[in-house]
């Protein structure tokens, strides 16, 4: 509630972050794995009988690699940072204040990575073989080093471990329980992706025999990763906090509805992506002729799909927090939420960005929506609140808000009865119903109990309210 909410219509700020992040994850992993690929290819190419031709091919790969990783990799990395500032300023502020020097070290790695890559690329024809191999090796080590650093901050958000707001132990937060499994998964994935990128460049080679050799070389990069990643994923899963596991496993809350839990979906996605990659690669190995640009890009897209699944899984697993157990997605601090007086007192007084709306109006409700819900829901686009409340009646809404926290994926509601009434009236107004928030206050509600959708008073919606395929679109 410290910051304004970037209220982007049908997308929601969170989805903007996700879109940029998904592109970045693929490219940044290719960027690291590609470094190892360059080292091995440097050595290998010089042992081939037709060395010059292989080196020309490697030069093409290096050009592609340079342009791709700098133009798309570096910029989307900065892009994630930009978008997170807009979507979760409070969280990025905490991360930056806590880990500023880790980030600064990360920057030293960026600077070195970039410079070494340029020396490698521009010296391709003039450096000695030893220098080229050394530069490629240095590039790989540095790029992997940048992964080692950023991985600490990324995993911190989901598993802060022994770090708490009272005891800010940087080392414990950085080398948190999720750190090593995640590092291993990312490392294996990046080798896999480097091989896939190799396919793409090899697909442009005309000479069949030569192309075959390059493809065989790339195959060895893909197969181990495609087999290992699902298993490592399971290990990572075992480090997650119990509440996250409950959410992902579907548990009692039925988060994503339907018959599949997020966990099952993820398992299926990982299995399908892994299997397709192995099969595709085997086909490539057996019939190098089939490797054309489209096929190579399709393989990258399959990998991208797997990564997307993993990232959504991670995001979903972190709900309702941005930083697990510390800060909720909508900027509410867990320590503040534990104080009932603070949580249940009138909201506008504490919120900063309400613009002085008159209390008890629809405008009041809109502010509450924006400041408390809009970080995860849009009105009627992505994770639409209109759709999710389509069966709400005025009476039900206010009571549901009192228990929304029990679903496990949402923060507790902040505010008093009037704040709830204003929000409910606003939500109803989005689908065209006009209600005066003041008419929804509990003391006026005694007469309106008849149309309650929650007959047993448990605060849980009727089964019909659970939303099938919620995550996917609406």
């Amino acid at each position: 509630m410290n910051y304004p909410i970037w209220d982007v219509g049908g997308l929601g700020a969170g989805l903007v972050v996700a879109i940029i992040a998904i592109i970045h994850v693929l490219i940044s992993h290719v960027a690291v794995g590609g470094g190892a690929f360059l080292v091995v290819a440097e050595i290998w190419s010089r042992r081939q009988p037709d060395g010059q031709r292989v080196r020309d091919w490697l030069h093409t790969f290096a050009t592609f690699f340079l342009v791709y990783t700098t133009v798309l990799g570096a910029t989307t990395g900065v892009g994630i940072w930009f978008s997170v500032q807009l979507a979760s300023a409070e969280a990025i502020s905490l991360l930056i204040h806590q880990f500023v020097f880790a980030w600064a070290i990360e920057w030293v790695f960026f600077l070195s990575e970039l410079t070494v890559l340029y020396l490698y690329y521009y010296g391709f024809k003039r450096n000695t073989p030893r220098m080229q191999t050394f530069l490629a090796g240095a590039y790989f080590v540095i790029a992997w080093g940048s992964l080692v650093v950023i991985n600490g901050i990324l995993t911190f958000m989901l598993t802060p471990g022994a770090w708490t707001i009272e005891n800010k132990d940087i080392a414990a937060g950085f080398f948190n329980p999720g750190y090593f499994p995640a590092l291993l998964i990312r490392t294996v994935t990046m080798f896999l992706l480097a091989g896939l990128a190799g396919f793409l460049v090899a697909s442009r080679i005309r000479d069949e025999e030569f192309k075959g050799r390059i493809i065989q070389f790339c195959v060895k990069w893909v197969i181990p990763g495609a087999i290992l990643v699902p298993g490592l994923g399971y290990w990572y899963f075992t480090t997650l906090p119990a509440s996250t596991v409950t959410i992902l496993a579907g548990g009692t809350v039925g988060v994503v509805g339907g018959t599949l839990s997020a966990l099952t979906r993820m398992a299926i996605l990982a299995g399908v992506a892994g299997t397709s990659l192995v099969l595709g690669t085997l086909v490539f190995a057996a019939y190098p002729k089939t490797v054309n640009t489209i096929a190579a890009i399709s393989m990258l897209l399959v990998a991208q799909l797997g990564i997307m699944g993993a990232e959504f899984f991670r995001e979903m697993g972190r709900k309702p927090y941005v930083i697990h157990g510390v800060l909720y997605s909508n900027g509410l601090w867990v320590k503040d939420a534990k104080d009932p007086a603070r949580l249940n007192g009138p909201y506008l007084e504490k919120a900063k960005w309400h613009g002085g709306v008159a209390s008890g109006t629809l405008a009041h409700g809109e502010q509450v929506f924006r400041l408390q819900c809009a970080s995860c829901h849009t009105r009627d686009g992505y994770r639409s609140v209109v759709y999710r409340t389509r069966n709400w009646t005025a009476g039900f809404g206010s009571r549901w808000l009192g228990t929304m926290h029990d679903m496990g994926v949402m923060p507790p509601f902040q505010g008093d009865a009037l704040d709830k009434a204003a929000l409910v009236a606003y939500v109803l107004s989005l689908r065209g119903e006009t209600v005066d928030p003041r008419d929804l206050l509990p003391d006026r509600q005694a007469t309106a109990q008849g149309d309650d959708l929650d007959p047993d008073g448990s605060g849980q919606a009727l089964p019909g309210l659970e939303v099938a395929g919620a995550e996917v679109g609406r």
Binding site: Y3, P4, Q85, S93, H97, F101, W107, L119
Partner: protein, 390 residues
């Protein structure tokens, strides 16, 4: 005067929301080291960022101009600038990261707020940078860079670059004007805003961009020296003529921008910049070093000596750094009614700071050593290439 500013702030707050400004509280974690260190790091890296940015802006404009006018030797100089662009863009981005990090540590609550209010142009920076960076690579790698389509692409890339600068200036100026926040937020909560009514906006934009010609001029001076040393006297002299013209043009524009921004500032801020000890010192130092730099460019004209372009580079660095610091002094003054650095607690992370210092020094030494091993060979190779084509 401070009182006047404070009063203005309070008044604006009263009219904006009726309930005080929506100023977020500083991060509860406080500063990881005393702010002066963060400021110093940010001045240093921001100066490098500005220099790389200036090199890119100046190079792309001069490149386009040379390609369109096409006098003798222009094409080869144009190619040099064209090849420089992806490189300078890389460093412009990379050196932009630390100042952006430190501004968030130091002034996060103001900076995040203004970024969110300008959310749309702010996020647009990313696709624009991807586009211009990609275009710069494309025109370097493509077989026929003088094709009108490619030239058009370069023009668009240059415009994208200028817009990115414009959006940054918008954000930075808005971050020191909390009294405008609520109004903009009400106007467009999706962040389709700009800080257009800031009186110093355009002057500031020019102030940031104008040295581009000067910095690119120094880069051309370097090339001229190389030509002269290689015995390509005519071409070297041609390069030096362009270098001097560009450097002078940049400084003239910068002087115009400087006068413009001073006259556009609110009176009390201007009197602070021109009379308060520290601000006056920084301004004087910047101006003096810039003049020294310009004189060095003049003296280096037609001389086959690295000393002049090297010393001119140093002089321009020393000219820019105090102005970057002055920029921060002005910000602190503008924020005084709402915020001051001294009020944020310091929870020192000396261990982490030390670790960073170790990495930084090790990284720089490593890169320097590599440069000394690789770059001379590259230059020699380039020389052979030029000989062949001459």
């Amino acid at each position: 005067m401070r009182l006047a500013l404070a009063m203005a702030g309070v008044l604006a707050a009263a009219t904006a929301s009726g309930a005080g400004l929506p100023m977020p509280s500083p991060d509860p974690l406080g500063y990881p080291v005393p702010p002066i260190l963060l400021q110093a790091l940010s001045y240093f890296t921001l100066t490098l960022h500005f220099l790389a940015m200036n090199l890119t802006v100046g190079s792309v404009v001069i490149y386009l101009w040379l390609t369109i006018t096409r006098k003798q030797y222009d094409d080869r100089l144009a190619r040099y600038l064209r090849d420089l662009l992806p490189l300078s863009t890389s460093y412009l981005i990379t050196f932009g990261i630390p100042p952006l990090l430190f501004v968030q540590v130091l002034y996060g609550q103001m900076f995040y707020s203004s970024s969110i209010l300008l959310g749309f142009p702010w996020i647009l920076v990313i696709p624009l940078v991807v586009f211009l960076y990609g275009a710069f690579y494309y025109q370097k790698l493509v077989k026929n860079p003088e094709h009108p389509g490619v030239l058009l692409l370069s023009v668009l890339a240059a415009m994208a670059l200028l817009s990115v600068g414009f959006f940054f200036v918008n954000n930075i100026t808005l971050s020191v004007s909390p009294e405008k926040w609520m109004g903009l937020y009400a106007k467009s909560p999706g962040g389709q805003n700009l800080n257009m009514d800031d009186p110093t906006l355009f002057a500031r934009w020019l102030l940031i961009l104008a040295p581009g010609f000067t910095v690119a001029g120094v880069a051309i001076l370097f090339r001229g020296v190389m030509m002269l040393k290689w015995g390509l006297t005519e071409e070297g002299r041609h390069n030096h003529r362009i270098a001097v013209n560009a450097a002078v043009l940049g400084m003239l524009l910068e002087a115009v921008a400087g006068i413009w921004i001073l006259s556009a500032m609110p009176d009390d801020l201007r009197s602070h910049v021109t009379s308060a000890g520290l601000a006056k010192l920084l301004l004087g130092l910047g101006t003096a070093m810039a003049s020294v730099g310009l004189v060095l460019v003049f003296l280096g004209r037609y001389k086959a000596s690295w000393a002049y372009p090297l010393m001119a580079s140093l002089a321009f660095f020393l000219a820019l750094a105090p102005l970057v610091a002055l920029r921060d002094v002005v910000r602190i003054e503008q924020l005084r009614p709402h915020f001051s650095l001294e009020n944020v607690p310091v929870h020192a992370q000396w261990c982490m700071a030390g670790l960073f210092a170790v990495f930084l020094v090790a990284g720089l030494v490593f890169l320097l050593a590599l440069h000394m091993m690789v770059v001379p060979k590259l230059i020699a190779g380039r020389r052979a290439e030029l000989r062949e084509s001459a």
